[in-house]
């Protein structure tokens, strides 16, 4: 399934703008939310092909959003790929718990926009 629509949940203005800018330039349809609550609402209201999810978010942490979407009996976003993007070094146990429900786990500091585009390309 080709990826067209992307939801970015990222609270850092600079980082969010940076990723959104290059994603739009590449032709993706991007929605960007800066806090956890809005992010979860957006994810529930519209079906995206891909979600880029930060962990340390205001209002609701990325791990909580993940739990709300995929932690229950039913996967609420079965057609959405989720990539966690964080600079926070989670301890192993939380990390393993997070990784269980996602399609990718990226350290933002290692991922330039160019790199991100090639990763999304690979996911297709």
């Amino acid at each position: 399934m080709a990826i067209h629509s992307i939801l970015v949940i990222e609270d850092d203005r600079f980082i969010g703008e940076m990723y959104v800018r290059s994603l739009i330039k590449e032709g993706y349809a991007v929605d960007w939310m800066v806090d956890g609550n809005d992010g979860l609402v957006a994810a529930r209201n519209k079906e995206y092909d891909l979600m880029l999810l930060d962990v340390m978010l205001p209002e609701r942490r990325g791990t909580e959003i993940l739990k709300a979407l995929r932690g229950g009996k039913e996967n609420l976003v079965p057609n959405t790929k989720i990539i966690v993007m964080t600079n926070f070094e989670q301890d192993d146990e939380s990390r393993i718990a997070t990784e269980h429900d996602v399609d990718g786990y990226l350290i933002k500091a290692d991922i330039t926009p160019k790199k991100l585009l090639s990763i999304i390309e690979e996911l297709n």
């Binding site: 146990e93 939380s94 393993i96 500091a109 926009p113 990763i119």
Partner: protein, 517 residues
Amino acid sequence: MATVAQPKPLHHFWTSYWRNLVFISVSLQLIVVLSTVLLLDATEAISILSLDTWAIAGGIFVILLLLNLLILRLASRPLKYIITALSHANGEESRLKQIHVNDAWVQRVGMKPLMTFIHELGGGGGSDHAADGEDTTDVQARAIRFDEALESSSTGIAFLDSKGRLLFRNPAVPTYTETDDTPVIDVQFYNEISLSDWIRECEKKSVNAEKTWVRVASKPAGEMDRKLYDMHATYKKGSQVPVVALFVEKTSEYMPEENDLNFIAFAAHELRGPITVIRGYLDTLIDELEGDISHEQRELFDRLVVSSNRLSSYINNILNSAKYDQRHLNLHLGETSTLRIYGMISDDMALRARAQRRNLTVDIPTDLPNVAADPASASEVFGNLIDNAIKYSNEGGSVEVRAVAHEHFVEVSVEDHGIGMPSNVVGNLFHKFYRSHRSRETVAGTGIGLYISKAIVESHGGTMEARSVEGVGSTFSFTLPTYASVASKLEKNGGSNKTLINNHSGSWIKNHGAIRG
């Protein structure tokens, strides 16, 4: 006889029995003496009316009575001793004087083993303190105290059956209740086999087994009321209680370390934010300005990229060192090639060497055996050694990276022709925050790179060493085990190496594996 509600003390039996014995004995003797007098009177040997007859009969009665009582006393003595001992063993207060097992008579007649046995029945020892409150508990009271002890103990004790179901637990065992009200042990096993899986495995192939888990948590990190335990379990097949598990709470001991690590993780998170933006926009700018900037300007951009990349890898070093010091550094070894590991950072290294005007040559043959490694961590070792080689050599100098196969290892070496070090410095190189004598004045750095590199290599089961000649240059080399040499061991550890998800400690994408910036 009147009925009594309370059970009689054991020693009451002796008192009444002895009384009866004496009564019967006296009565029988009276009958014997009287019948003898009557019989003799009938045969007219004596006269019943004579005073002498009664005097003699009375004398005989008294003598016989004395002898009889003596024999009776002697014959029933063991019985008395046994009852006395049992009475004391039961913790009763009685007028009967307690008999010591070393009593002369007891020893003479050979009753000592019997008395010792009874003594031990009652809990043994302290024979002189029989009347102390401690020993006056009866069996029932003891059972209640056992419960109380379990109830108040801070050590969790749980009994489980062979299916891993809880048979008994005291309050210190962390549990939660399932929807159907069954309590379940509530600790999380991440990198280790869980208690229930362990029991299942024991059921299959063990008769007796035991296992210790260190630092298991009741809740994920960051949640309220998180507790940390050390856990020990024993297993005995076929026993009524096949599994006994102990939980020792170590929260206060382990938490400060966790908090330190959290602090470093938060600090790193803060530092990585700006780095993300710097690296990201540099990449974007270089792309978008391509063709519009001069060669010299491009070089300036490269320097920015190299510096931000280095900053990023230093942060990784700090994070890894903190984790390693607190035994949190978990590597997930899998089959990979030396070339692939280097491939993760080759572009970065090439740029770094070019920007700092060093000639970097890399000779990693394609036909090397595969190694067992955590690619992200192993690539950090490469990066650290090359970074050092560049730091401690001169502009225009060459840095050579080579890899060769030995029997069970692949050896990687990084050689520079730089300032080198005297031999007395080499031994200290791998200590945290150590830097060689001259580097302190000429080159900035934390000295953390070699420390964590060595730790990572040794966690792989490899070794790291340094050779150096002052003024000539240094060679750092490390080994990684070939996958073939450790495959069986890794497979036995199972689980964590089987799925892609757990295969990498850095960034990863499903079905594509590790990713490096």
